[in-house]
C-alpha cells in the first residue's frame, strides 16, 4: 500500500498561555478533499499554518509520500507543492493583481521581473476562478470578495499538490462560491489534494470526501463520506447534540421604529432606498457581495453619511453625520469587519464592553468605574462570554466571543434599532446559536433588528421579513410565507429564477 500524500502525526503547538494543538494527526490522500472543522479556536488555522510552513510545530512530524519533511518556511512548503489560502486576506493592495498572484515567485528575464509573462499567466488563473478584471488592476480597487478570488487565483498559480483553503467562502457571494466549488471539483479530478476549512456545514457536506474534526486542539474524530451529516458533524464539534438549529418564532410587529425614505448612499447615489422596521421585528437583508448592504447600514449609522433622503427613528427625523449622532437616536451597528471596526483587540473585555456607554454613564466627564464593573459582569454572564476574567484582552478570545463583546457593547445602551452586518461570519456553530438566541430575546423586548447576511440558510431561518438588494437598489421584500431560496436569488440577481443547486448548498432539513 502506498503512503498517503501527506501525513501529520502528533503535532503540538503552544502560544504564550495557550496550547493550540496537542498531538493532532491528519492524513490526506491524492485527489482527496478533506474538510477540517471545529469551533472557533479549535486549532484549525494553526494546523494549516504548520503544514504551510508559516509556523513551526513544537513537536510532531509531517511526512510527504512517506518521507519526513521539515516545513520551516513558506518557501520550503511551496517547493513541496503545499499552498495555503489564509483565513484573513493577505494581499499587498498597493500592487496590482498580477503582482500579487506571483508575489514571491516572480519569473525573471535577464535578472529582472518578467512582467509580460506574469500578466499573461495571471490572466489565465483569473479566468479559472471567474474573476473578470484586468491583471493590471490595483488590488485596492477590488471589493473584498474579488480580493478573496485573487487569493484563490494566487494559490492556484502555485500548481500545488496540496491546496489548503482556510474559510475561503467567508466573504464570497453564493455565485462566487459556486465558481470556487467548480474549481475544486476540477482540481480534484486532476489529482490535487485539498484541505478545506469552513464553518458552513452545508458546504462541507457538499464537498468533502472526508471530515476531520478538531476540538480544543485535539482530534475529536473523523467522518467518512457516508457518515457526513449535519448532526454528526455538530456532535463531534461541540461534544453534544444541538437540539434545533433555528428556533424561530414569528414576532408580532409593533409600531414602526425606523422609517427610511428615499435614502441615497454615497456609493450608489442614484438609487433611493425605502423601508420600514417595526418594533420587535427581525428583518433579514440578502444580496450578493457588493450589493450595497454594508453601504446602506453605514449610511444609516452615520459612518458614511447619506447624500439624500430621510431617516426617522420613532417618528423623529435624524440625519446622522457620525455614529455618535446615530447612537444618540437609538441605533446600534455590529459592523462587518469585527477586528477593525468592532473590537479594540488590545484592550480588555471590560473596556470594550463599556466603550459605547461611557458617555452615558459619565459623572461630569469622569469614568464611572462602579458602573463599568457592573456592566461587564452583567454582559459576561448574559452573553455567556467565555473568558477567565473581564480583564482578558479581546485579542485572545475566539471569533464568537469577540462578536459577543461587540453585541454586549450595544446592549448596554438599550438601542431601539439594532443593525447587524454579517453577524456570524467566521463564527462557530455554538457561538452562532447563542447569537441567534440573543437576537430572538432582543426582539421579544421590542428591539427592531435588521441583519445583513450572505448565508441564505440564516436569512431563511431567522427573518420575519427579508429585504433583498441588488447593485445599490432594494429589489424586493419577502414576507416569511413568500420566503424561499429561489425567490431570494431571483431578487438578488435581479433576473428570472434559475435555481442552481450548487450555488447555495442547501442544508439537509
Amino acid at each position: 500500500m502506498t503512503a498517503p500524500l501527506l501525513r501529520a502525526t502528533r503535532l503540538t503547538k503552544s502560544f504564550p498561555g495557550v496550547r493550540a494543538l496537542r498531538g493532532v494527526g491528519l492524513t490526506l490522500n491524492r485527489g482527496e478533499v478533506v474538510a477540517v472543522i471545529g469551533e472557533n479556536g479549535a486549532g484549525k488555522s494553526t494546523l494549516m499554518k504548520i503544514l504551510a510552513g508559516v509556523q513551526t510545530p513544537d513537536s510532531g512530524e509531517v511526512q510527504l509520500e512517506g518521507h519526513p519533511v521539515v516545513l520551516d518556511s513558506v518557501l520550503v512548503a511551496l517547493r513541496h507543492g503545499i499552498a495555503l489560502i489564509h483565513q484573513e486576506l493577505n494581499l499587498a493592495d498597493n500592487l496590482d493583481v498580477a503582482a500579487n498572484i506571483f508575489l514571491g515567485r516572480e519569473p525573471l528575464r535577464n535578472g529582472l521581473i518578467d512582467r509580460d509573462r506574469i500578466e499573461r499567466e495571471a490572466a489565465v488563473h483569473l479566468k479559472a476562478v471567474g474573476l473578470d478584471v484586468s491583471p493590471r488592476t490595483p488590488v485596492h480597487e477590488l471589493s473584498i470578495g474579488q480580493q478573496q478570488l485573487v487569493e484563490i487565483a494566487k494559490a492556484l498559480s502555485v500548481q500545488a499538490r496540496v491546496l489548503i483553503m482556510d474559510e475561503p467562502t467567508s466573504s464570497l457571494s453564493s455565485g462566487e462560491a459556486a465558481k470556487l466549488f467548480t474549481v475544486i471539483h476540477d482540481l480534484r479530478s486532476r489529482g490535487v489534494s485539498m484541505l478545506y476549512i469552513s464553518h458552513r456545514l452545508g458546504e462541507v457536506n457538499a464537498l468533502a470526501d472526508r471530515v476531520v474534526v478538531l476540538r480544543d486542539g485535539e482530534n475529536a474524530g473523523d467522518l467518512e463520506r457516508a457518515d457526513i451529516t449535519h448532526g454528526a458533524m455538530v456532535k463531534l464539534m461541540v461534544g453534544r447534540d444541538l437540539s434545533q438549529f433555528y428556533a424561530h418564532e414569528p414576532h408580532p410587529p409593533g409600531r414602526p421604529v425606523l422609517e427610511v425614505r428615499g435614502l441615497r448612499s454615497r456609493v450608489h447615489p442614484k438609487h433611493a432606498v425605502d423601508f420600514t422596521l417595526r418594533a420587535g421585528e427581525i428583518v433579514g437583508m440578502a444580496g450578493l457581495v457588493g450589493a450595497g448592504r454594508t453601504e446602506l447600514l453605514e449610511a444609516l449609522f452615520g459612518v458614511t453619511p447619506a447624500v439624500g433622503g430621510s431617516i426617522r427613528v420613532d417618528g423623529q427625523e435624524i440625519q446622522p453625520q457620525s455614529p455618535q449622532e446615530a447612537i444618540a437616536a437609538g441605533l446600534a451597528l455590529v459592523p462587518e469587519d469585527r477586528k477593525h471596526q468592532g473590537v479594540i483587540l488590545e484592550m480588555a473585555i471590560r473596556d470594550n464592553l463599556s466603550l459605547a456607554s461611557l458617555r452615558q454613564d459619565q459623572r461630569r466627564g469622569f469614568l464611572n468605574r462602579v458602573r463599568e464593573l457592573a456592566l461587564s459582569g452583567e454582559m459576561m454572564s448574559r452573553l455567556r462570554i467565555k473568558a477567565p476574567h473581564d480583564q482578558q484582552v479581546v485579542q485572545f478570545l475566539s471569533g464568537g466571543n469577540q462578536q459577543k463583546v461587540v453585541l454586549g457593547k450595544w446592549l448596554a445602551l438599550r438601542p431601539k434599532v439594532l443593525l447587524l452586518d454579517e453577524p456570524t461570519r467566521g463564527i462557530d456553530i455554538g457561538a452562532k446559536q447563542e447569537i441567534y438566541r440573543l437576537m430572538e430575546e432582543l426582539s421579544r423586548t421590542g428591539v427592531a433588528i435588521l441583519f445583513v447576511s450572505s448565508e441564505l440558510e440564516e436569512i431563511l431561518g431567522l427573518s420575519d421579513r427579508t429585504l433583498v438588494m441588488h447593485e445599490g437598489r432594494l429589489t424586493g421584500e419577502l414576507r416569511r410565507d413568500q420566503l424561499s431560496e429561489e425567490a431570494v436569488m431571483h431578487l438578488a440577481t435581479n433576473s428570472s429564477p434559475s435555481p442552481s443547486p450548487l450555488s447555495t448548498p442547501a442544508l439537509p432539513a
Binding site: 503552544s14 502560544f15 504564550p16 498561555g17 496550547r19 449609522f301 459612518v303 457620525s322 455614529p323 455618535q324 446615530a326 447612537i327 444618540a328 451597528l333 459592523p335 477593525h340 471596526q341 468592532g342 473590537v343 479594540i344 483587540l345 488590545e346 484592550m347 473596556d351 466603550l355 459605547a356 461611557l358 458617555r359 459619565q362 466627564g365 469622569f366 469614568l367 457593547k409
Partner: protein
Amino acid sequence: MRKILGITALLIVVCVITSLASSSFLSAYNLENLIRRTALFGIISIGVAFVIVTGGIDLSIGSVVCLVGCGLPWLLTTHHWSVPTALAAVILVSVGIGLGHGLLITRLRLPPFVVTLCGLLLYRGIARGFTQDQTVGFGSEFKALRSLATGQIPLPFLSGFALPAPWIFLIAVAVLAAIFLNRTIYGRYLLALGRNEDAARYSGINTRRMIVLAYVISSTLAGLGGILFVLDVNSAQPVDFGNFYELYAIAAAVLGGCSLRGGEGTIVGVIVGAALMQVLRNMITLVTTHNNIEFAIIGAVILLGVIADELVKRYAARRRAARALAAEGAG
C-alpha cells in the same frame, strides 16, 4: 506599572552610580538643578505623550518652545505689552498651533509626521523673522515673572533644600494629565482610538475631536515649557532655542513606556524618562572631564535600555508560558 519598572530601575542605577562617583551629586544645589531641569523637560514630554498615545507624532515641539520662548520676551521688552497680555498671547498662539495641526491631520488626513515637520521649520523661521535673528531676553527686569521658573519654595522640614518652582508646574500638569488620561472618559477615548481609530469611531466616539485635543495639549504644554524655559534661562536665541527638544521629549515619552504605535502610555513613566535623560547629562558633566561624548552616552543608554527592556519582556513571557504549561500539565 510593569512597563515602567525597567526604566525606573535604570534611573535608580544611574543615580546610585553617579552619587558613588561624585559626592556633589546628592548636594542640595545639584538636586535642585536636576529637579528644575526635569520639570521643564517633563512638561513638554507629557504634552507629546498625549499625541503619541493617539498613534501620532509631534515634531514641532522644539520650534514651539522657540516661538514662545522668543515671543514672550519680545512682546514684553520690545513691545512693552503687559505681562498678562503677553502670557495670554503666547499661550493662545500655542493653542492655535495645536488646533491647526489637529485640523490638518483629521480633516485633510495629512500624516502627522509631515504636518509637524513643516511646523518644525515654520515656527522657528517665524521666530527668526520677527526677532530679526536677535537674541531676546528679560535683562534684569520681570523678576516677579521670572520667579515662576527660578523661584524656590523652602520645604518645612528640609533646611538647605528648596523646591524649584517649575516642579510645582510639573506636578500640577502631571496630576491633571494622569487624571485626564486614566480617570476621564476622554482619556479612555484617546487610549481606545490610539489602538483602533475605526473601532472607536464606530463606538460613537468623536475621534477627530479627540485627536485635535491631543495636538492642542501637546502644543499648549510645549508653549508652557517655552515660557518656563525662557524665564529660567533669561534669554533666547531663535536659531537654537529649543533645538532638538522634540526628540528629547519623544525619547522621554518612549523611555517612559509610550508606544509609538499608539494606545499606551503612563504619565509617571514619562516623568521618569525625562528625569533619566537629565540625570545622564548631569552625570557626564559631574563625573567625566569632557562633555563631548554626552550625546553618544545618552544614545547608547537609551538604546541599551530599550534592548534590555525587550529582552526582559521576552524572557518573562517565556517564563510565564512555561509556568502556565507546567501548571496545566500538573492539573
